[in-house]
Symmetry: C2
Subunit: 333 residues, 2 copies
């Protein structure tokens, strides 16, 4: 590529390796997000699509197909499908969370309105389903429509679980699978399926995507309590202020005495937060080793992702995917 | 059925004729709207599903399959798919329109919140796609995923077109196809496709559903200006007050002089409505024969629906579908 010496991060290595195919994915996305009749659709979509993001999910599909020796053209459709599902969920998430910013720009719900975000999201879901039908592979359809259901179910579960102190690690894991891991694992799995890869490789691709997605989300939740604002772009304590029951807090609550329980009940469940509460929360998280335990958990999922890759053939992309798993936890190691 | 003497309306005749299959559809809907993890999902869905409604769309799928001699079990899946898509769009519509009532009950967005309506709607869309994959018929998938895209596109188009005086009859028709006709025509068409019906019959089923859906929506828009509140449950002038550019108004605007244009601009585009405006609007609609012309258009679409049925085999269901087309316009004839 002539740029190899400058490429250090694994997702950049993947992007360089898959540059031609990613261009095809981007062209397909641009083509399919058009609407003959409703110009609002490409306006809203372009706002989000042009803002970039790493395009990690479509790259996972292309990489998996590449790794399994696929030589057709439909991995591009599936990669675009995955990105459309992701974009649709972002639009709906920002409505649900009343978010103001996404990828460093004002959100669509702020620039246009909630109506546009809901309906354009629906349009992108429908376009995703049209795209995924085109390869004519029923197993792929099964995997992606199941992923869409798990995503929506996880989001609904989060509505009720987020501020409920009874939320345990099992429920957290279900929410995380819905929020993040279901689309990661579908993205990798369909890359294998479309290639006609042997069953153990398809299972390994699923396991890799699942574990990578879970590690990714746990890291995100951990950084919210111990991140460096400059590096992460997030403010420490956002999740606390938004009363989200994430893994560190769940672990601390599991070990809480009566006073501590009352503290979490007041701040998270009732939302009555006062000066100094975040500091006290951090003290409790550290006292119970909750941040360390969360970090260990993220590392364990990363190991699981890397182990899964052993079932795949030796190939430059396999190395990049293993590096990607390490990269996800690099910020907390 | 033992009840035949009491059954007079065509949709009731269809319901009686298809009672066993509709029961299977309802059982499948109940089964698939469940969620192991998120009890909010069946709560919200049941609120809407149990409220009833005529189940017209799934009946169209069952009736079409019946008419084409289908003897498998997958028409039940497709009928449930169609109802799930319909229910999902109702949930999202009520958020977008900020509606308070649906089927005589408070809307889900009012009872729970917008978040639940958005996310449970997404879940039902995903469940619909899972269901439609099961018969393993790619053409059916193509038709239903296209319908979902047309529906969402029509809804977005309506956002920008509803209060824009440049909206003409072509745009109105696109919106109506999205709002109503696309799901009607997909419902009838997939009934033919799953039966392996000859191509001209499949086309005729599509045409029937398309024309029926358009007639249905035009009648709705007409009744808003000349309905009997007791019979329709709607208040005369709701669309006017909500500044919706429907067919009667579009026809009146096409013939408006400068003063009249200024009136429509003020009331619909700017939303500055005063005492007596609705009466004046009705005067203008009558002066230009806009209500009569709208009625004629609904009748013409009904004729088109009935003519399409000529391509289908002679069968009791064919008679019921023809009667159904007449019934749709009965309230305005």
């Amino acid at each position: 590529m002539g740029l190899d010496h400058a490429v250090t991060k694994p997702h950049e290595q993947l992007a360089a390796h898959l540059a031609g195919e990613m261009e095809a994915v981007n062209a397909l996305i641009r083509d399919r997000m058009a609407s003959r009749h409703a110009p609002r659709i490409p306006e809203v979509t372009a706002h989000l699509v042009d803002a970039g993001g790493k395009r990690l999910r479509p790259m996972l599909t292309l990489a998996s197909a590449d790794l399994c020796g696929y030589d057709g053209a439909y991995h591009v459709h599936l990669a675009a499908t995955v990105e459309f599902i992701h974009t649709a969920t972002l639009l709906h998430d920002d409505v649900v969370d009343e978010s103001q910013q996404r990828r460093g720009r004002p959100t669509a719900n702020l620039l246009w309105d909630n109506k546009s975000s809901v309906l354009v999201g629906d349009y992108l879901f429908a376009r995703a389903f049209q795209l995924m039908v085109e390869p004519g592979n029923l197993r792929v359809l099964d995997i992606l429509s199941n992923a869409a259901a798990v995503i929506a179910e996880g989001e609904v579960l989060q509505l009720s679980a987020a501020r409920d102190l009874r939320t345990d690690e099992d429920i957290y894991l279900q929410v995380v699978r819905g929020k993040t891991a279901a689309l990661f694992s579908a993205a990798t799995q369909v890359g294998g399926v479309i290639s006609g890869a042997p069953e153990p490789q398809i299972t390994a691709l699923y396991d890799y995507g699942d574990a990578l997605g879970i590690a990714f989300q746990i890291v995100d939740d951990l950084l919210d309590y111990q991140g460096d604002t400059k590096a992460t772009g997030k403010n420490v304590g956002d999740d606390f202020r938004e009363r989200k029951l994430t893994l560190p807090v769940i672990k601390a609550i599991a070990q809480a005495n009566d006073d501590e329980r009352a503290f979490w009940k007041r701040t998270i469940e009732k939302g009555d937060q006062r000066e100094g509460d975040l500091d006290h929360a951090l003290t409790l998280l550290n006292a119970h080793g909750a941040l360390d335990a969360t970090r260990q958990e993220a590392l364990a999922w990363t190991d699981k992702a890397k182990t899964a890759m052993q079932a795949l053939p030796d190939h430059p992309v396999r190395r990049m995917l293993i590096d990607l798993a390490d990269y996800v936890v690099e910020r907390i190691s």
